[in-house]
């Protein structure tokens, strides 16, 4: 049996499906996939049961970040994040300077994101402040602020002399439901594309609708929502 095919019958985990769709989304965002291709490939990824179902999803695409096969093979049914890095934490932070989001908030969001996707579980340790500082070259006070925020939210707890640990999970939506939601959204994206919206237009519309939705729900709106009428269909 060739080692190349030895893992093709293994079952695919949710985290792996997510990793694959994230990378497809990256390609989509970079314009290397058109909406129809993207829709098709994500659909195949979400319904993949074994490794073999995932093969060919990146056909004709350059590699992003980590190459597909070794990354998946190392997952071995667990979360892709459990590769030993020696830092004692399952996750590693990254920064997007162009996002405009304050650095400490980026760290907070990444922990929340990792919790939602199952990369982090209660009891897991967050990267040590010093390690984050050394790898990202950011101010230690920024990391401390992020960790304090996470603690305030009740997601983590500091253990003196040891570090910061996850102590709660975030509500996770079950996979079938997630698949359904993604499908609806893809349908909407196709409509938006058909209506002539380009990618930036779609992002702008979605972001503004999302903001309206939450602002309305929290009832903290102080001024009239001018251009919100035509964005109802999204949510």
């Amino acid at each position: 049996m060739s080692p190349l095919y030895s893992d093709q019958h293994l079952r695919v985990s949710d985290a792996e499906r997510q990793a694959v769709t994230d990378r497809l989304a990256e390609h989509f965002a970079a314009g290397r996939l058109d909406p129809a291709e993207f829709d098709d490939r994500v659909g195949r990824a979400m319904s993949a049961k074994i490794r073999a179902d995932l093969s060919g999803l990146f056909a004709g695409l350059p590699e992003t970040g980590a190459p597909a096969a070794p990354e998946l093979a190392r997952g071995g049914g667990g979360t892709p994040g459990d590769a030993p890095r020696g830092t004692g934490s399952p996750i590693e932070f990254r920064l997007d300077a162009a996002s405009g989001v304050p650095t400490y908030l980026q760290l907070v969001h990444q922990v929340e994101h990792a919790l939602r996707l199952g990369y982090l579980k209660p009891g897991d340790q967050l990267p040590k402040v010093r390690d984050v500082v050394a790898s990202l070259a950011i101010n230690p006070n920024t990391v401390l602020k992020a960790y304090k925020e996470l603690e305030t939210k009740g997601l983590t707890a500091g253990r003196p002399g040891q570090g910061t640990f996850i102590q709660a999970t975030l509500s996770q939506v079950a996979l079938p439901e997630l698949t359904g939601l993604r499908k609806t959204l893809l349908g909407w994206l196709t409509t938006a594309d058909g209506a002539g919206l380009d990618q930036d237009g779609i992002v702008a519309l979605f972001t503004s609708a999302l903001r309206d939705f939450y602002e309305r729900r929290s009832g903290s709106r102080t001024r009239g929502g001018a251009a919100s009428g035509e964005t109802e269909g999204v949510a």
Binding site: A97, R130, V133, A137, I138, N139, T222, R223
Partner: protein, 316 residues
């Protein structure tokens, strides 16, 4: 932690007939990376030289590390300074520089220096002048940090370095801060990179302090309002506008306001980044924001709808 690593009052320095620094009153609290920002000739290097004792003031006062005069033995022991273009004796080897620095200082952590140079892959027998720009900068920084200072002063530390060398240099600085709690004051033009590094901002313009305060506080008390240009003039009178950019139809006003302040109908409020904030002030040399511990001139407050919770002064 409540100590001020640098404190000045009415500090001024004149070279010949030129005032390099005027009426400089500020306090830089310990435990921060304070960024000294300003255009060329704003007085950044002058201020740093005065703080480390390389120059004497023409007028006014400057103290360091909680009230000590610059140049005093305690100040010299507690402050490490890396001047512009990382001065090294180019003909001495890295090992010789280490030996020299050790003998010229009362306190020197030789083990730290040797370990660090080994980590960086800097050979001890190579002449300083033959190291790469990034390695020279790291060598100068390592020698400074091996003195175990309480305050590290860096004058344009990364201006000449490539992006990777910059990142590694700042990582060394910030790791020292995380490990030993060393406070850092650095001057820089590279605004974009300060965002993730600095948590205290001092903006110098034409020899005067224009902005001084904690970055979080400054960002929380400034917003950008975007709306119809026709109304901009109106609001400019009611809100305290630092800087306005106007198109035919649309205008952006950088105002002093918090997220809790009401937004005029038809206008959108956005949070502001450090670079945008600094640029706005640098373009308006008349505007000032001094929420930090330093209180400059007591100017009459222009009353605005601000509830920043901090003492602030606005001049326009």
């Amino acid at each position: 932690m409540s100590m001020n690593v640098i404190e000045t009052s009415g500090l001024a320095k004149r070279y010949g007939r030129t005032w390099a620094l005027r009426e400089c009153t500020l306090a830089v609290p310990a435990g921060h990376v304070a960024a000294l920002v300003g255009p060329n000739g704003a007085g950044k290097t002058t201020l740093l030289n005065l703080a480390v004792g390389l120059a004497a003031p023409t007028a006014g006062l400057v103290t360091v590390l909680g009230g000590r005069p610059p140049g005093s033995p305690a100040a010299l022991d507690g402050i490490a300074f890396v001047a512009q273009d990382t001065p090294l004796y180019k003909n001495l080897s890295a090992g010789d520089m280490l030996h020299l620095t050790r003998n010229l200082n009362r306190r020197f952590d030789r083990e730290y220096a040797q370990t660090r140079l080994a980590e960086l892959g800097i050979p001890l027998n190579r002449k300083a002048g033959r190291l790469s720009g990034g390695q020279q900068a790291q060598l100068a920084l390592t020698l400074a940090l091996a003195r175990r200072p309480k305050l590290l002063v860096l004058d344009e530390p990364v201006a000449m370095l490539d992006p990777v060398a910059r990142h590694d240099f700042m990582a060394t600085v910030l790791t020292a801060m995380a490990d030993d709690g060393v406070s850092v004051v650095l001057s820089s033009h590279v605004l974009a990179e300060l965002e993730r590094v600095a948590d205290y901002l001092i903006l110098l313009s034409r020899g005067r302090v224009q902005v001084a305060g904690e970055v979080d506080g400054l960002l929380a008390t400034h917003r950008v309002l975007t709306g119809p240009a026709a109304e901009a003039g109106d609001y400019a009178e009611r809100l305290s506008v630092v800087h306005a950019r106007r198109g035919e139809a649309q205008a952006h006003l950088l105002v002093r306001a918090t997220a809790a302040d009401p937004v005029p109908p038809g206008w959108e409020a956005h949070p502001v980044g450090l670079e945008e904030l600094a640029l706005a002030y640098l373009r308006e040399p008349g505007a000032a924001a001094l929420p930090g511990p330093a209180r400059a001139r007591a100017l009459p407050l222009e009353t605005g709808p601000l509830e920043t919770g901090e003492p602030s002064e606005v001049t326009r």
